[in-house]
Amino acid sequence: MLEELASTFPILTCILFLPLVGAAVLWLFDDEDMVKTSALTIALLELALSVFVLLRFIPDSAAMQFSEHVPWIPALGISYHLAVDGISVLFVGLTAFLTVLIVIYSWDTVRHQMKVYMMALLALETTTMGVFLSIDLILFFVFWELMLIPSYFLIKLWGGGAERHYAALKFVLYTLLGSVFMLVGFALLNINFHHWATLRHLEQTYSFDLLELLSVPIPLSQQVLIFWLLFLGFAFKAPVFPFHTWLADALLEGPIGMAVVLAGLKLGTFGFIRFSIPLLPDASKSETVVAITMALGLAAILYGAIMALVQQDFRRLLAFSSISHLRFVVIGLFALNYQGLQGSLLTMINLGFSTAGLFFIAGFLYSRQQSTQLGSFGGMAKRTPLLASYFLFIGLAGIGLPGTNGFVGEFLILLGAFKANWLYGGIAVTGVIFSAAYFLWYYERSMLGPLGKAVKDSISDLHPREVFIATAMAVMILWIGLYPSPFLRMMNGSVQALVDRLERGTVASIDSTQPVRVD
């Protein structure tokens, strides 16, 4: 994990700032069509760059690739350090992919201030990319916090619900509350490095760089403290039960585009696998930590599933199902074995297609019936066969039907969970059954049966733009479902390195007197 491959061309910087520059360029245009076309061009260009990185990425390697490293605030050991490895590279592609689809989706569903909407969306893309690309903890934190600003405006100005002001504020304050604790955790890591480096009379005494922090031993008690501080930060964002209440509000009140980002890009759990587990391996495998996270995870799987079962509103159902699914990810992470970690990573990517896809479906339903309440649907399959089929297909991927991507991820997680402890696996399996129950029941009531009274006569099936979005999702679902090996190969090296790191702990690095130089 400490090895780095620098690139000659700063492609990650381009990926990072292209949307932001694009957003600034949009400011110059007044014509709405012009704005939309340029936003789409920028999003596509970004996707092209991301695909290029994915293609040039060396699979089965634990190295940090396309690395860029420039000192930023040397007095505090903060640097501008970007890189991708097996853990983050797929998220970069996923972010670019989803942003393109959101721009296409928003083409005619955003009713006012199109220019500002697109600017906020592109700014959000930059900050999200920053979260995935940053290797420096403070740089990561910068983007993590900056995400709040475009998100706040997106929920507040383009949200559909009456409670959107409340939801936007709640979202910002909850995330901020978690992240201030995370910042203390980062500071403790930095100070730990400082003590270590001072004893060895190193020239550099402060560092927030992930790779340098990895080379320093951390006492176990310190690790546990830092783990819980970081846990708060990531748990609020993920969100992990019982810190989840903002998510339902934000997903329900915010615009579909925002919901897709929140539900599709699992930043909180990414934080666990990027920072918590590698930096604090001894704490991560200590008994209390595993027991508490597993207990929270299993509770949330059941809680989310049961809550989803009784929801009348499709978006609310999705919110709870996404809480339930997310916990699969956490179960996989804290199984702390190869299959579990790999399954979690793949499931995080999968949710970007299945849950995000279902949010697009919710958007399609909303733009037809101006509601996602169950009462406004019924027997829709007769009038909108295309919508109903995509709905079913993406939903089945969410359940984890063999042949779809959901199956591969959940299978790996369950394998890892059973390997760690049969009890975890046993309870987690019931979550799968629940998810089939709530989805199929809702589907049956909304799409099948006699035509609902509230269904408008003028209702139309998917139009080409919507078909494009749904097909793109379906293709990715099938691809990962039937031929996952290219995706798994990209992760393999880093996941293996992570497992090794978990076995060795931080103590192994005590012997080395010099931190690994990474210039």
Partner: protein
């Protein structure tokens, strides 16, 4: 104590910036009397020119490394003093620029306004160099004298008069405390110069004396529980004076606090840290919680200012070189963000004649420039990355984590969340609420310039803070080598903290 005063030309050189400013403000007064018809703008630009010359002189001192002491150690010119002097003169320039339009509200004595502002600045420049208790008293009162008049400058406005009375009565009270404290300390130790006090024995009289001095300085920076004058005074004063009052005296008082704690009281560090932790926690919590309920923009900024002072006190409470570096850095970020926010308040109040938060509704549509600037300033005050305020908070918090002040950090971080809440209320008003009146706002050139400078400062320090961190680190390094009590400052084992 014999006091032989021999001043050589080279000594006078050390006083050059102050002498320059003194001559200049006499010159402004003479011009104002000689040419009563001279337009105000002209006088303002004259004053600013003088201040810029002073700033240039200070910058030259800083680059050339001209330092020294005068009058038997009463007056110390080191790089820390130079930092604070530049801080004070820089904020004075911006305040005068922001006053040019506002000044039409004064019915009388427009010319004297510039004189008084510059006189206060002169007093504060001396404060930055005050190195013994007598000069602390003299310089502090000298700088406050100008403010007593400035606060009550809107003679027809009852609020301004009330502010003036309140500030005056409490100010005099603080001065009395200071004088009493100094007399106690002198009585106990027979010493006045900070650097002579390093070896004093702890006695009850000394403790009470220093507590009284701390109270007087706490009044100056507005830390809880010495803050009671702040809300009404900030609210009632002419807005440019409020802006001035919220920044420059804080910097000058922090210069004295740094010298007092790190030089005179270095041996009692474990005790005064507790004092500062308490003051910091109270200021942050009180300021932020009361700010939530405010309806008036100036009062909101007043309470948020109290909370920001609490944040700066964290750096002082860390009691290390890194903490002091962080304080200086934070003060600079606070200068740009707070002064920028006040400049927007001045611009809005010039255009719509109101400072109520409710009247900021729809500012995003009426004046995108002002609303965007306000957004940036408020987010910087709240500490959102990558703005200057974030780096400042980070610096402060890291220095405190290093000393293991976890309680302080926890309270500080929870306060960051609370402050975000009320800053977002203003943001919501500007961008989401419907305006009462849709007409666009006109912003004058001079205010625009202030806003641009503050925006540039906030963004530049946030994105590329390295030159500023280098500057503050070197400012405090010089201080530790000067004149003798170097042992007071625990210099980190690594010779320079910016390796790599």
């Amino acid at each position: 104590m014999t006091f032989s005063l021999t001043i050589s030309p080279s000594d006078l050189l050390l006083l050059l910036p102050e002498i320059l400013l003194t001559c200049w403000l006499c010159f402004i007064l003479i011009i104002d009397f000689s040419f009563p018809r001279l337009p105000n703008e002209q006088l303002a630009y004259f004053s600013i020119a003088g201040l810029i010359a002073t700033l240039g002189c200070l910058a030259w001192f800083d680059i050339a490394g001209i330092t020294g002491t005068l009058f038997a150690n009463m007056f110390a010119l080191d790089r820390m003093a130079l930092f604070f002097k530049m801080f004070i003169v820089g904020s004075t320039i911006l305040v005068l620029l922001a006053s040019i339009d506002y000044i039409h509200r004064f019915k009388f004595f427009r010319g004297e306004y510039y004189f008084l502002v510059m006189m206060s600045a002169l007093g504060m420049m001396f404060m930055a160099s005050a190195n013994d208790l007598l000069s602390v008293f003299i310089t502090l009162e000298f700088s406050t004298l100008g403010f007593y008049v400035l606060v009550a400058y809107l003679r027809e406005d009852m609020a301004s008069n009330e502010a003036g009375i309140k500030f005056f009565v409490l100010g005099i009270f603080a001065a009395a405390l200071l004088a009493y404290g100094i007399s106690l300390v002198y009585g106990e130790t027979g010493k006045l110069v900070f650097s002579d006090m390093t070896a004093v024995q702890a006695t009850p009289g000394l403790a009470i004396g220093f507590l009284l001095i701390f109270a007087a300085l706490g009044f100056k920076i507005g830390a809880v529980p010495f803050h009671s004058w702040i809300p009404d005074t900030y609210h009632g004063s002419p807005t440019p004076v409020t802006a001035f009052l919220s920044i420059a005296p804080k910097g000058a008082a922090f210069a004295i606090l740094l010298r007092m704690f790190f030089v005179a009281l270095a041996t009692f560090k474990p005790i005064w840290i507790l004092l500062l932790v308490a003051a910091s926690i109270l200021s942050m919590t009180y300021g932020n919680i009361v700010a939530i309920a405010q309806k008036n923009m100036k009062r909101l900024l007043a309470y948020s200012g109290i909370a920001q002072i609490g944040n700066i006190l964290i750096g002082l409470a860390a009691g290390t070189k890194m903490g002091s570096d962080a304080m200086l850095f934070y003060l600079l970020t606070y200068l740009f963000a707070n002064l920028g926010a006040f400049a927007v308040v001045i611009a809005v109040s010039e255009a719509i004649g109101s400072e109520e938060i409710d009247d900021y509704s729809g500012l995003g549509r009426r004046s995108p420039f002002l609303a965007f600037s306000m957004l940036i300033f408020l987010l910087s005050l709240a500490g959102v990355p990558p703005l200057a305020g974030f780096i400042g908070k980070l610096y402060i918090f890291v220095s405190a984590v290093k000393e293991g002040l976890y309680l302080l950090i926890t309270v500080g971080l929870i306060n960051v969340v609370i402050s975000m809440y009320y800053y977002l209320i203003v943001v919501k008003k500007m961008y989401v609420s419907e305006p009462h009146d849709r007409s666009p706002l006109r912003v004058s050139g001079s205010i625009k310039m202030v806003v641009y400078v503050c925006l540039a400062g906030t963004l530049a320090i946030g994105i590329y803070p390295q030159p500023v961190t280098d500057w503050v680190v070197s400012a405090i390094l010089m201080f530790s080598n000067f004149p003798d009590p170097t042992a007071a400052l625990p210099v980190p084992p690594a010779v320079t903290p910016f390796g790599g």
